[in-house]
Amino acid sequence: GESVGLHLPTLSVQEGDNSIINCAYSNSASDYFIWYKQESGKGPQFIIDIRSNMDKRQGQRVTVLLNKTVKHLSLQIAATQPGDSAVYFCAESLLNTGNQFYFGTGTSLTVIP
């Protein structure tokens, strides 16, 4: 499979601070990216997505940035809350593979109250 990697396996932030989770991907043909949040004992849950024709997309307290030049994706969480503590995955979908997604290794975010 293609490499979808994260720079930091763990991240600790103070409650109220902003969090940035990074993801690198290797295939420039990828056209769709999703960030998932996985809480302990649960399945991954969709947070936000972005298509390759966009550089930025905002949701509620979250922003995804896509830099196709360096094949880099980031998830920014504003005013991080204890409920944001989870493992975050980026996933990429490759052209001509239906909707097969390759997941990154995950970043564990811990919010310190």
Partner: protein, 113 residues
């Protein structure tokens, strides 16, 4: 109300046994998947079915056999279980094939002793 459900949630069994995990989605989605998540949280797709037809079959031992009796169900049968099969198995579904978010079930933690 559960969108994607799996049974059982926990499965402990001995090497050599045969076991099944069931998955059902009530979202009316066309496409369903099975993923395996290892102890390091790495998520890897195993199978993808679209309208009961096998689309993706990653490099998975043929001891694993998915069965889709209808569009809403995708079961996973595993023969001759091995220690290395211990993992969390997630079922997921998406609206259709292509770049669509996937909805994950709660996972089945399989422990082979």
């Amino acid at each position: 109300d559960t969108a994607v459900s799996q049974t059982p949630k926990y499965l402990v069994t001995q090497m050599g046994n045969d076991k099944s995990i069931k998955c059902e989605q009530n979202l009316g989605h066309d496409t369903m998947y099975w993923y395996k998540q290892d102890s390091k949280k790495f998520l890897k797709i195993m199978f993808s079915y679209n309208n009961k037809e096998l689309i993706i079959n990653e490099t998975v031992p043929n001891r694993f056999s998915p069965k889709s009796p209808d569009k809403a169900h995708l079961n996973l049968h595993i023969n001759s279980l091995e220690l290395g099969d211990s993992a969390v198995y997630f079922c997921a579904s998406s609206f259709r094939m292509g770049s669509y978010e996937q909805y994950f079930g709660p996972g089945t933690r399989l422990t082979v002793t």
